[in-house]
């Protein structure tokens, strides 16, 4: 009971701060008569967003599935790669430097070339999102797989369990917390990747809306898109946290009575 009151007040304080900031912003932009195309008031942003609501729905959907597509692809590629890296010293020497090299290349610089090669459709954005998202998953999963207590591996060996059995029953579950912390970084990066892809060249998606709205001085629409993008990122991050809690309930802080 007391705990719920405390958690309520914990979320009430930032909520009140946010509300206060919006009110100040509204009053300031009215009082100072700042032109709408430079800094629209919250009410104006809301009005424009409402007018655009059906079109926003379509653009949000496009960005969302580009993000999720890239994210899913990065999991599918990263987990086997991490496994190879941990299990084979030869693969580690062959692959790891390449992955680090790939990570060092600024994705924003690569994106135009990529779009040129793959085309300007949604698939190219999936690839950009994948490129930025897969690195943290590979690194964290590999770290987690390598962090299995040596005693557990010796125990498995003494039971003469196969490598696959040891992986499925011991190593991978042990690495799950690392895997999920990789996913949490990756999901927010995937949103950025999708938007960067849209910036380079597209006719759909929230990144495209921001670019075209600003070129027509419709700053309110750009603001609304930014807010929508933040909401997407937060919701997806929350979803990953939720899945983590469902998949690894043993990681939740112990209930106190």
């Amino acid at each position: 009971m007391r705990a719920s009151v405390r958690s309520l007040s914990r979320s009430a304080v930032p909520a009140a701060t946010l509300a206060g900031a919006i009110v100040v912003w509204e009053l300031a932009s009215r009082g100072l008569r700042i032109p709408k195309f430079i800094m629209p008031a919250p009410s104006e942003i809301a009005a424009e967003a409402w007018e655009w609501r059906y079109r926003f729905l379509g653009h949000t959907w496009v960005t969302l599935y580009e993000t999720l597509g890239g994210f899913a692809l990065s999991i599918v590629v990263a987990v086997p790669l991490a496994t190879l890296i941990v299990y084979s010293p030869w693969m580690r020497r062959a692959i790891y430097p390449l992955i680090v090299l790939l990570q060092a290349v600024p994705k924003i610089a690569v994106a135009p070339v990529l779009l040129l090669v793959i085309g300007y459709g949604e698939f190219s954005k999936v690839i950009v999102a994948f490129l930025v998202a897969f690195f943290p998953i590979v690194v964290d999963t590999a770290t987690g797989l390598a962090a299995t207590p040596p005693e557990l591996l010796e125990l498995s060996r003494s039971y003469r369990a196969s490598a696959l059995k040891t992986f499925v029953k011991v190593r991978f579950p042990m690495a799950l917390p690392f895997f999920f912390s990789g996913l949490k970084v990756a999901i927010t990066l995937a949103v950025i990747g999708a938007v960067v892809g849209e910036f380079i060249g597209s006719d759909k998606g929230l990144g495209y809306v921001i670019l075209s709205a600003t070129s027509y001085w419709k700053t309110g629409l750009a603001f609304a898109s930014m807010i929508l993008l933040s909401v997407i990122a937060i919701v997806l991050f929350g979803a990953v946290c939720l899945v983590e809690r469902l998949v690894c309930p043993w990681l939740a802080p112990a209930a106190e009575e």
Binding site: L152, L155, R157, S158, Y159, R160, K169, V170, P173, L251
Partner: protein
């Protein structure tokens, strides 16, 4: 037998050398010696987890070249699987051995009851104290009823009181179902109190300094620690360990 490790830099580290040790079936043998003298290495050699560099390890006339199923291992830390309940952690041994866990459920419950863990079967490891977790690890090692139990400082991470309690518990379990136990410890009293034989090792490279047969009545009790014989054994072991330390200091 002997074991030489090759370090990452390519140096050769002789871990144990010229070890000859005979252990009779169903004997309780404890292993003491300074840190780094190769006690853990010796257990790994016996378990077949690491190959010998020279000599042979034989268990019941079979030469050990690889891990064999008839052995149970307990480490200093319980290393339980945090997502599995206590019961499922014990059954882990059966699963990994490729046996049907359902056939072992009854025995697992009996073992847990024997170690005073009745009522905790569905708890997660993190809800247990360190001593209770180590009991679960011992149950896991005992589940397939191995003839050989290898224990590497199993009570090393516990407080003195829990340690004593678990020691006597282990003796009780061993009494009910005899098996050969090779038990590494840093505690001289523990080594004497539990054992039929204490193996004292010296370091670098690890060798056997002396094998002391402990002639104290069983069942062992706490009172034995005040026995004159106990004190004599204790002084003997301590003397051997200090002698090896002094010899090393002189060599420098």
């Amino acid at each position: 037998m002997e074991k030489t490790y090759r370090t990452r830099r390519g140096d050769l580290v002789p871990a144990v050398e010229g070890i000859t040790l005979d252990i009779a079936e169903n004997e309780f043998v404890t292993l003491v010696g300074p840190s780094g003298c190769g006690k853990s290495t010796l257990l790994k050699l016996v378990a077949g987890l690491t190959p010998v560099s020279g000599g042979t390890v034989r268990v019941r006339d079979t030469v050990v070249r690889e891990p064999f199923p008839d052995v149970g291992i307990v480490f200093q830390h319980p290393v339980l699987l945090p997502w599995r309940t206590v019961l499922d952690n014990v059954l882990f041994a059966a699963e990994m051995l490729g046996l049907d866990p359902d056939d072992h459920r009854k025995r697992a419950l009996e073992l847990l009851e024997l170690s005073g863990l009745a009522g905790f079967e569905t708890r997660l490891p993190r809800e247990l104290s360190g001593g209770m977790q180590q009991r679960v690890a011992i149950c896991r090692a005992l589940l397939p009823d191995p003839t050989l139990l290898l224990m590497d400082e199993p009570f090393g991470a516990l407080d003195a009181m829990t340690r004593e309690e678990l020691g006597f518990e282990l003796l009780r379990i061993w009494d009910a179902r005899r098996k050969t136990i090779l038990f590494v410890t840093h505690s001289i009293p523990e080594a004497i109190l539990l054992a039929d034989k204490v193996v004292v090792m010296t370091s670098r490279p690890g060798r056997v300094a002396r094998v002391i047969t402990i002639d104290l009545p069983r069942p062992r009790t706490v009172e034995l620690e005040f026995d004159a014989k106990f004190k004599a054994y204790s002084d003997e072991v301590r003397g051997l360990i200090f002698a090896s330390r002094r010899a090393r200091a002189d060599a420098r």
